[in-house]
């Protein structure tokens, strides 16, 4: 049990959730819920890992992961935007499709050692006492990219013209349409962006934070946690980042809790107690289920500030939205 280690590891694993959740925020802000995050992440993790292995270049792997997640998300876009099908059903199917594809194509990757995204320490910043060693020392480059992502995406969504259009399309697509904004194009674009970021999140696992290919255990449900974080974060990227980091730290804390035989001078109840430690490892997912059930109530979503047109296909000329 070491606070510095928990915080440091939390930032690293939190980066995975940060990318996936911000991606989902983009899609949902445009009015399209994509429950296929888990599938897109796993496919991204597999694509990144195998490309890096084949080309011996981790950066090419990263690009391939982003690409794979984005391409898979377009299937969801086609079904929900073009054919106006139910977003929940399509999203769930996308998880199955992505997971299935990743497991088949990832056959035999376990145990391989491709080049990884390097860890670096930032000069000067790393020498700040405590904070430097938590935030700026021996982190994957992707963690630093994540730091930059937070203010940039926030600024983009709230303070730029395309961000304004994005929010308008998710809140009131008919208004956007009458002002000459192409609702379908905007939705496709942000579903694709969401897919790309889910792919990036996948590669952040397999090529950087916990490198390797462990079939479906690679993502182990983190895509669902990301979807829950979006609700907790009220579709705000800054809150999503904080949520992602907190979840990351929670997981590390639970892991570390199982280690020592003595805790603050007392017998550690979790030490060597499998039932209890499995239960503890489950808690983040329990929270996720609670968040998803809680957040799926229409009234609750409204109170949290969910985009008003979220989940509703846009058909020109239909009254209401």
């Amino acid at each position: 049990m070491n606070l510095e280690i928990i915080l440091h590891a939390g930032l690293a694993t939190g980066t995975i959730l940060l990318f996936a959740a911000i991606g989902e925020i983009f899609a949902e802000r445009a009015g399209v819920m994509n429950l296929g995050v888990e599938g897109m992440m796993l496919l991204g993790a597999m694509a990144g890992f195998s490309t890096s292995l084949a080309t011996q270049n981790a950066w090419l792997g990263l690009i391939m992961a982003i690409f794979a997640g984005g391409i898979l998300s377009l299937a969801h876009g086609l079904v929900t935007i073009h054919f106006q099908a139910d977003q929940v059903v399509s999203g769930l199917s996308l998880t199955f499709l992505g997971t299935g594809l990743a497991l088949v194509l990832g056959e035999g990757l376990t145990g391989q050692n491709p080049p990884l995204i390097p860890n670096v320490s930032l000069p000067i910043l790393a020498s700040i006492p405590f904070l430097g060693s938590v935030f700026f020392t021996n982190h994957s480059i992707l963690v630093y990219v994540g730091y930059l992502f937070i203010p940039l995406t926030w600024y983009y969504i709230y303070k730029t013209r395309p961000g304004m259009h994005l929010r308008a399309v998710g809140e009131k697509p008919s208004a956007a349409d009458t002002l000459g904004i192409n609702v379908y194009r905007v939705r496709y674009f942000y579903v694709f962006v969401g897919g790309c970021l889910a792919g990036l999140a996948g590669a952040t696992i397999s090529l950087s934070v916990s490198p390797g290919w462990y079939s479906s255990q690679t993502t182990s449900g983190q895509g669902w946690i990301a979807v829950a974080i979006v609700i907790f974060a009220q579709w705000n990227p800054v809150r999503a980042a904080v949520g992602g980091y907190l979840f990351g730290m929670l997981r590390r804390f639970i892991l570390d809790l199982q280690g020592p035989a003595l805790l603050f001078g007392f017998q550690n109840p979790i030490f060597m107690n499998h039932n209890l430690s499995f239960f503890l490892q489950m808690t983040p997912f329990l929270l996720t289920i609670v968040a998803l059930v809680w957040g799926s109530q229409a009234a609750m979503r409204k109170r949290l500030g969910s985009p008003a047109a979220l989940g509703i296909p846009y058909i020109r000329g239909e009254r209401g939205l």
Partner: protein, 513 residues
């Protein structure tokens, strides 16, 4: 304004010639002609489904005519999207506002424009929009979010939106439908001020008194065809216009017999309730309603009227007491109020009032399917159900090919008659009617209003929620005014003062009654 006709004729602002617009199975516009002179207010009248909005949507670039020519300022145009229409100076204010509730006034106005390119510095644009407001006298705080604004203010934002895009020709689609009386006056002043500054206005309505109040000329559509093209408003009477719209004579005076209200049927005491967002929608409302009495509820949409109807019919939980014929129904399931004899004409005809994909027969028996002779323990006797439906269809003159027609294929007026037929037949003691004539055409409104009066004579207590003040004044015995969930006052309809009701509707006055 009449001086326009004396000047040498400049090119017309809009000339629509021989327009044909077809939807699957419907000829929405059948060789329609329409002209709009520069600097005039031109009213476009017609019943629902007459093709007014369709015609205007084609001018705004949303639909494409099958044939016909549209000229704007003398130049032939061919619009493929709203953007094309906007670039020719055409701005449309839709009946259902096209505003993003969570964005500010300025953001809404800037949406879809080329400038700003990427970074949006709202304070610069707030100033620009303020300048535009000064010019046209359309005051509204540019940094306020849309959801914080009143409906009248939102409409001003819509008009500003078109003006910011340089619109010279404004199309207003039923602009007064959502406004309180004072707001309607303001809007009419605004329209005149716009016309003085060389804008031209096309204005869709089916309220005849507004036409005579503000328009220079008018065009009437009936079933997609023009029945009066660009006639001046001098000497045109309400009766004449109604006949042009409907194709037959309409009697405007409803025949309300004077009668003494009977026993108390509904007793609402200190009722408070929350709306769907969890905010207070009703605050301590108390009111009584008697046999053979129509109590109207006036108020601008969203001030608690819907919630009031829902707590009485058992669809929403509340605090306080609601007694019908002495029995407590607050927080009881809807079945309980049905058993006591509460009928409900809901606001949402297709979502709540009927099951659109089911037949007329199935829709008529929804409240008595479990009673003899239609219900027989666990079976439904469809022979008697069909007899019942046929009887109602004939009695209430529901126009439909047969009783097995799906409810969604009925027109708005006939659907409403179907709902009334079912409700009147099953639950005679109290009727809760929410916007029963909303969106219906003159002929159907007449039929529905007569049915309500007939029920009143039969001794039913009727709670009528409506946004049409005229309707309330002509049908009701008493009118209660509600604002932000609070009862502002109750007035006798016979000596009601329209201005005072309007002031109460906007919360600026409270009467002790």
């Amino acid at each position: 304004m009449s001086s326009i006709s004396n000047q040498p004729s400049p090119p017309l602002a809009v000339e629509m010639h021989d327009i044909v617009i077809r939807f699957p199975g419907v000829l929405a516009n059948d060789h329609v002609n329409l002209t709009l002179k520069r600097g005039e207010i031109h009213a476009l009248l017609g019943e629902n489904g007459a093709g007014k909005s369709t015609l205007m949507n084609s001018l705004a670039g949303l639909y494409k005519p099958v044939s016909g020519v549209i000229k704007v300022n003398g130049e032939v145009v061919n619009f493929n999207s709203p953007r094309d229409a906007i670039s020719k100076g055409i701005g449309m204010v839709y009946q259902h506002f096209m505003l993003v509730p969570t964005q500010t006034v300025t953001e809404n106005i800037l949406l879809g424009l080329k400038e700003p390119r990427f970074f949006v510095n709202l304070s610069i644009y707030n100033k620009k929009i303020q300048a535009l407001q000064e010019q046209f006298g359309l005051r509204v705080d540019p940094s306020a979010q849309i959801w914080q604004l009143s409906v009248g203010e939102q409409q001003r934002v819509e008009i500003l939106k078109t003006l910011y895009r340089g619109a010279n020709i404004l199309i207003l689609d039923e602009p007064t439908a959502v406004l309180a009386p004072q707001e309607i006056d303001d809007l009419m002043k605004t329209m005149r001020r716009l016309v003085e500054q060389d804008k031209s206005i096309l204005f869709i309505t089916h309220k005849l008194n507004e036409v005579t109040a503000v328009a220079d000329r008018l065009t009437v559509l009936r079933k997609g065809k023009v029945t009066a093209e660009g006639i001046g408003i001098e000497g045109v009477t309400r009766e004449k216009l109604a006949e042009l719209m409907v194709g037959r004579k309409i009697i405007f005076q409803v025949d309300k017999k004077s009668q003494k209200p009977g026993e108390v049927v509904l007793e609402v005491k200190n009722v408070s309730a929350l709306n769907n967002k969890g905010f207070p929608a009703l605050k301590n409302v108390s009111i009584n309603l008697h046999q053979g009495e129509i109590l109207g509820f006036a108020g601008i949409a969203g001030n608690g009227q819907s919630e009031l109807a829902e707590v009485i019919t058992g669809l929403r939980s509340c605090s306080g007491s609601i007694k019908i014929n002495g029995k407590q129904v607050a927080n009881q399931p809807p079945g309980k109020s049905i058993d006591i004899g509460v009928s409900h004409i809901p606001e949402d005809r297709t979502g709540v009032g009927t099951a659109p994909n089911m037949s007329i027969t199935e829709n008529t028996i929804m409240k008595n399917y479990d009673q003899e002779p239609i219900g027989n323990r666990w079976k439904i006797n469809f022979t008697s159900a069909r007899e019942y439906a046929t009887r109602l269809k004939d009695k209430y003159e529901i126009l439909a090919p047969s009783i097995s027609t799906q409810a969604r294929k009925l027109s708005g007026g006939n659907l409403q008659k179907l709902i009334l037929a079912r409700e009147i037949s099953c639950c005679p003691s109290l009727m809760v009617a929410v916007q029963p004539t909303r969106g219906l055409d003159v002929g159907a409104i007449e039929a529905i209003q007569n049915l309500l009066l007939e029920q009143r004579e039969n001794g039913t207590a009727i709670l009528l929620i409506s946004e049409e003040l005229e309707e309330l004044l002509s049908l009701c015995d008493r009118i209660a005014v509600i604002y932000e969930g609070e009862l502002m006052g109750v007035v006798e309809a016979a000596d009601a003062n329209l201005t005072n009701i309007g002031l109460m509707m906007t919360g600026s006055m409270r009467s002790q009654a």
